[in-house]
Amino acid sequence: MESNLIPALDPAPLPGPPWLFHVLWVVTFLIHLLFVNTVLGGSLLAALAGLAGAGKREIQSLFVEVNAWAISFAITFGIAPLLFMQVLLGRFFYTATILVAWAWLGMLGLLMVGYYLNYVAKFRLRAGKGAGAVLIIEAACFLVIAAIQVAINLLHMQPGRWARVAEQAWAALADPTFVPRYVHFVLAAVAMSGALLAWVAVHRATKGGDAQILSGMARFGVRAALVATLLQLVDGFWLLLTLPEDVLKAFMRGGPATMVPLTLGILAGVLLLVVLAQIADPLANPTRVRRVAELMVGAVVFMVLTRHQLRTIYLAPARANEQVTVAPQLGALALFLVVFVLCVALTVYALVKAAKDRPQAGEDAA
């Protein structure tokens, strides 16, 4: 049944070598995920900011201001991995999305609601009004989006489940790895956003500001990162143990290629715990707070690699007879590379200029 339902490979050749698409996919997905973590974790921490001792309003303001940019960049950097993934695995991905079509389409509605609610919260907070309920709904939107993404991601690499899901779309959630995988992503997002919050508070403290509020922000960030990372270690092993046996065995037999990134990712998590546990007063330990942020990014990098490798293992039987042809479009590839480098350079140049350029006394501002 499984192989019968897999659509035929697109007869058109790949317009570039497969390794290039894999590299571009992983790199752009990593950037996408960093923004996604900020959006998801940030909206959750903003919704839960009432648990902070001091600085509730500042925490909310920080995340709605950051998310006004981060949501846009999460969407923008989501386009590229979506493109490169479709080149390599389109027939698996399209099938999975069609099987849960309304959820996949509904994700866009949730995204739009979440994004506009962020602006509503931003303008309410700027006007001195409360935004608690708005932030809770916003966070709920992003939590559901994450669940849809995890479900589709699992479904596209398991053709054996397609027939069941075609009969009953809710069966898309009935995979033993769904819950631990979903929790894994949510906890990572919370941990990263907690680290970001602590880092911003520490950074602001070096420039002055209300020490009590900044301390409240930093403590809340460190606490969130600590709790999330602690739970993450437990959940990570739960996820590993719920993997299908053949996938787990193939992963373990992958040698250094698979075991090194996983081990480094777990090590980064353990180190994170150690460093976080040592931070009693974040404002007095700026170096440790910065170290947390660095370790967090490192852990995400290794886990993205592991995630990509797991997908390859999951899909190996279904792609065993795949006869891919390659006809590189070198001119078009050069066009992409030139445009990409130019646009990134212009973006960095303009943003740096915007951050540094300030009118002198007596000069007009824009």
Binding site: A12, S72, L83, T95, W104, Q329, G331, L335, F340, A366
Partner: protein, 454 residues
Amino acid sequence: MDYPIWNLAFGGGVLIGIVAITHVLVSHFAIGGGFAIAFIETLAVRRRNPALRALAKRSSLMLILVSTVFGAISGVGIWVTIGLVQPAATSALIHNYVWGWAAEWGFFILEVAMALAYYATWGKVRPRTHLLIIWLYFFAAYMSLVVIQGIISFMLTPGRWLETRSFWDGMFNPSYLPGLLLRTGICLFLAGAYLTLAALREPDRGARAGMVRLLASFQVVGVLLAYGGYRWWEHVLPESVRAIFLGAKALLPALASTRHLVLWALTAYLLLALFALAAPRFHRWPSAVAALLAAFAFFGGYERLREGSRKPFVIRDFMFSNGVLVSEIPDLNQRGILSKAVWAAQTSGGEQAKGLAVFRAQCASCHTLDGYLSIRKLVAPVDADMLNGILSTMREEGNEYTSGQYTHEGHVATEKLDYPLMPPLVGTEAEVDALASYLLSLKPSNVAEASHGK
């Protein structure tokens, strides 16, 4: 065809149309609006005009809210819907144009960053830096149109790509430049129409009249460019496409009516824009809203025309709207459509179940059972002999696509076929018989008999 079928009562094509038209209305404003705001702020700085500055600032919030939020999400929405409704065509496009889309993505990064930075730096940076940001925004936004226009127009007029399979031949296809000119005009007039609404909020009458006149000039130039582009676009279309909506005996009267609507809407819009130019003080909310609606009617109508005139293809002369490739007709006639349509074939039962599978594989991408283009309504007045004749002709037409007999200037002359707007029927004779059996079972009399017999 070999993917699962998402059954939508109102038709997948309608969903794509709704999402796409909503997106293009916003995305073209995002381009034209960028130019208009950059132009207005440049004038404001040079003339030290606070009213023009206020107009640029007021409009910039709208620009980021529609561009970076709605535009970005609805743009992804097009991806999502075409992947759900036309997965085979999406895959074909991705394999040919991934680097084009990736280049467009590069411009999109710059566009989004500049939109957010522009709004965030009002009153914070020197005017020179602020102008640099908005002009960079416009550059990126327009360049994304320059790229995406190649892919959009390719689907209707693939041109030399059909022989060479070259990325560049596909991008710079016959309708590329006409379409780009047309869309450039649309960007300009949409910006003028939207920003006029912002200008009408200016309390100073003299300043307001000046703004309305300036924006009216954007609209007049935009309409003229759009008209020139539209006529050029019609001119370069292959005869088989023109036959669908042009001439006294247009193959699709509904599309011919859309063309009339498009031209009348543009005429009405031109008159309103000229009115605003000549008498800006009298151009208030009613005429401004009417102008905006005329702009929407033209653009929406044009998009409908462009999509509709691709029939029966999704990529002209290459892939039909049901995902069947022109090149695979002989093979599928021999092996059977159900040998490829693995999802549609997931039915068990007799002749009618097999017919249902054939229907799902070939017809369900356009026809629903009782909703959009209802097949039940279409077969109601047809008897068995007529139906067999129709299906037999449709199957024979498949040979005409591959024999070259009806080929003219590289295009299949679909207008010479009996069913020029429908993909040919492919599959074995047994599959065609099964389809006939299934379709006849949908006739009201047969449904009643079946119900009565239970």
